[in-house]
Symmetry: C2
Subunit: 231 residues, 2 copies
């Protein structure tokens, strides 16, 4: 039987800000896969995870070069995915650690996309993103009431992009009352990947990849739409 790949968010940096679930996964993993590069931050994920793994856990360092050369990157991502594949084919459970949340600007995303396509069994454990820890530290709300929140990585050009509607991800919290309206607006704005998730990570979790199939009368408060233009 093949092993399972876990993408484990270890949180923003404080080893206490990891979830109980992430700890449990780290403790049962056979292999701890850690992205390594010359950039500060990647080693922090490994440092945090090291608190929680059992002594027999093998550590697999995967290089993620800091370059904008797409060809170099793609080749290395393919190579790293093959290293993970080898372990999974041996029946080993592999925990790939990322700082913060695995779905926000992580190298894990590139592994997930390759291995999901090959049919491997994958589970992602969310983590506390650094902007939540930052807001908590600063006692500064990220969003109140109907505020929209835009997350922008490095390049400030993105401010302009966000302002002219080029945000690639839109997250709608509590969309149930406006479901049909949102679906219509997103289609018009060219968002092709519109996913509805209700009760994420809880009993009764449901995911609609085609939100036109959702029965909005039955969908309650605890739901979220994530819309992306690509993929």
């Amino acid at each position: 039987m093949k092993g399972r790949l876990y993408g484990v968010g270890v949180g923003p940096g404080d080893p206490e800000l990891i979830s109980i679930k992430a700890c449990r996964i780290l403790q049962m993993a056979d292999v701890l896969a850690a992205p390594s590069s010359s950039v500060e931050g990647t080693d922090i994920a490994l440092d945090i995870a090291s608190y929680y793994i059992k002594p027999s856990t093998e550590i697999l360092h995967l290089p993620f070069p800091m370059t904008s050369d797409r060809t170099v990157l793609e080749q290395q991502w393919d190579k790293n995915a093959r290293s993970l594949q080898e372990r999974l084919d041996l029946g080993q459970n592999v925990a790939f650690v990322t700082i913060g949340d695995p779905m926000i600007y992580s190298t894990y995303i590139y592994m997930l996309q390759r291995l999901a396509q090959l049919g491997y069994d994958i589970e992602t454990i969310p983590g506390i993103p650094s902007f939540c820890a930052s807001a908590a530290a600063a006692q500064m709300p990220l969003g109140k009431g109907g505020d929209a929140i835009t997350i922008i990585p490095g390049d400030p050009q993105k401010v302009l992009d966000a302002q002219s509607g080029i945000s690639s991800t839109l997250v709608f919290m509590k969309p149930s009352g406006h479901g049909r309206k949102i679906a219509r607006m997103l289609a018009q704005a060219g968002y092709r990947n519109v996913t509805l998730i209700s009760h994420a990570g809880q009993r009764g979790q449901k995911i609609w990849r085609d939100i036109s199939a959702a029965d909005w009368e039955d969908i309650d408060y605890m739901s979220i739409i994530i819309a992306r233009k690509d993929e």
Copy 2:
């Protein structure tokens, strides 16, 4: 000695997706303050917290009415803040629980703002937001590379607002290389509250409320700017 108020994010719903730190705070709290309303979701925070508190912990239910009448809301928030104040003045440590992250669309924010103004000792424990758990469940990246991410609550009108630059919060990840440029752009765009946080929740954490005072040559990768138009 007065007690301390903790804003505790209990995560997206799965009791295992709470942080070790949140558990520790819940276990030592004298009073568990739980927002209660007719809306599903508020009771989930209490349910999750109940797993972790000690039997002697008193539970304080605070009503947060679901109304858009600002006067009614303000009166109730003032009243709830006074209930918390009473406990803190008795020297009790109070954990106010919220589902998800306390800085994202929570009722805690209104308590924090009132009690901080009165000089109470407050600590906020970040949590995993529901959109991270949703993205993990859906195996759907929230942001890759230079993607901007916009979080939009309920009303779809916010899509239009975000697209015309009315996002009230902008989060810049890894701004260090562009620090001065970002500061200039934000000032021009009317963002008055621009805060730089480095190493949030870690040793060496630093917060700059006036980013013109930041020495960008000394600020590394592990930093974030949160910019807001109000406050």
